[in-house]
């Protein structure tokens, strides 16, 4: 087994490294979960390939870009999809989440609380509601309980991380009331033994993540 070292900030709430941590945890693969304080970043930045994190060190070689890292790990550990087409579908869902992360970063970083509340409302209404409707349709069509094919892939973990571990925690489940398939999916992922083991471990070990 190669030595995996995942490097990322200590906070905000898990951010773009969490999907890789979920993939590794679900696959039962050990990894060094390196988290550094924001004040250490100026010293670390120049030694990253492109000046950003997360980065994954694999036996000394470095890979950057959160979804690239997640996809690489998913492929190596049986969570990528059964064939080229399924792998592409899983990629597509992961890139949807990437776009949604970019979209929520805008209200997330707004300092004025009144403006922030407005921005979050607009975001939920204009971005999340249509996307939830579209994904609910796809889940119904696929009809296996999973986003891709008939097994768990990293796409399901990506949707869990964003919709359950982030949005549901922040806004409650009201936005999922018309999306029973999506709700069932994220609840199923939440209860997977290895996912549960990981979330319980990280919530007690890294309380500063819970903002």
């Amino acid at each position: 087994m190669p030595v995996y070292k995942l490097h990322y900030f200590k906070s905000p709430r898990r951010g773009r490294a969490e999907l890789s941590r979920l993939i590794l945890s679900q696959a039962g693969v050990e990894f060094e979960d390196i988290r550094f304080a924001h004040c250490e970043w100026p010293a670390i930045k120049p030694i990253t390939p492109f000046g950003h994190v997360p980065i994954l060190e694999v036996d000394g070689q470095v890979l950057a870009q959160s979804n690239t890292i997640a996809r690489y790990l998913a492929k190596r550990h049986g969570l990528a999809g059964k064939d080229d087409w399924e792998q592409a579908l899983a990629d597509m869902y992961a890139e949807n989440i990437h776009d949604l992360l970019n979209a929520v970063a805008v209200p997330f970083t707004e300092k004025n609380p009144v403006k922030q509340k407005e921005m979050y409302q607009k975001f939920m209404r204009d971005v999340i509601v249509p996307h939830v409707a579209a994904v609910e349709k796809q889940l119904k069509k696929n009809n296996t309980g999973f986003l891709v094919g008939n097994e768990l892939t990293w796409a399901d973990l990506a949707y869990y991380a964003y919709f359950s571990d982030f949005l549901e925690v922040k806004f409650g489940s009201a936005f999922l009331k018309n999306a029973p398939h999506l709700k069932a999916l994220i609840d199923r992922v939440k209860e997977l033994p290895n996912v549960k083991k990981w979330t319980e471990f990280r919530d007690s070990t890294y309380p500063e993540d819970n903002e």
Binding site: P49, F50, G51, V58, Q61, L63, A64, Q65, N67, T68, I69, R71, Y72, K75, R76, D84, W85, Q87, A88, L89, D91, M92, E95, N96, N102, P130, H131, A134, Q138
Partner: protein, 204 residues
């Protein structure tokens, strides 16, 4: 050979990389382009209300880099092994970020402000990235971004950086001889040359 239909606006934008990949691979495809006025009606027919979308024998795939990666893998342009494929993905994601980074300037309506935003983008975001990629190219030492052969990563950098040269001139590449050579290398590939000469001429 499956039937490929690529759906997008009449632009290069986020569909051009897929077109470059299919052209380089010598693969036929239906290059479906629609006007902005047609989009509201078409939007509902796309899986996530966005384009580009690749139709493969009737099934639909969304997300520009997903489409490009799928085509690259099916047609020998993805990288030799899992690690190379990871590196190629990483470079393609870089280009995705740069395109996203350019959007605020692109969308700015005020001409003065737009000029400022583009200037900032080029002198900060692009200059920094060019310096880093130049170093990676030197380190790899093969003329290509990944391994020793052409991958979709090279096509991605060609697509975006040749657009920047078109728009802003090549001064910003004056200290990046390896990146400049890479762009020239791709430009001269017979299948790329043929595509670029025959494709519809669009602003972006």
């Amino acid at each position: 050979m499956p039937v490929y239909k690529l759906h997008y606006f009449n632009l290069r934008g986020r569909a051009e990389l897929a077109r470059l990949i299919m052209s380089q691979a010598g693969v036929e495809f239906e290059d479906v382009r629609f006007e902005r006025t047609e989009w509201p009606a078409l939007k509902a027919t796309m899986p996530f209300g966005q384009v580009p979308v690749l139709e493969v024998d009737g099934q639909m795939l969304a997300q520009s880099n997903t489409i490009s990666r799928y085509l690259a893998r099916k047609h020998g342009l993805a990288g030799k092994d899992e690690w190379e494929q990871g590196l190629a993905d990483m470079y393609a994601d870089n280009i995705g970020d740069l395109m996203t980074g350019m959007r605020p300037a692109f969308l700015e309506k005020d001409a003065e402000k737009q000029k400022e935003l583009y200037e900032k983008f080029m002198t900060e975001t692009i200059a920094t990235h060019v310096a880093i990629v130049e170093k990676q190219l030197e380190k790899n030492g093969t003329g290509h971004l990944v391994g020793k052969e052409l991958t979709w990563a090279d096509l991605a950098y060609y697509g975006f950086f040749s657009f920047l040269v078109e728009k802003f001139g090549e001064d910003f590449l004056k200290d990046a001889s390896h990146l400049k050579s890479l762009i020239a290398l791709v430009e001269e590939l017979p299948n790329i040359k043929k595509w670029v000469e025959s494709r519809p001429k669009t602003e972006i």
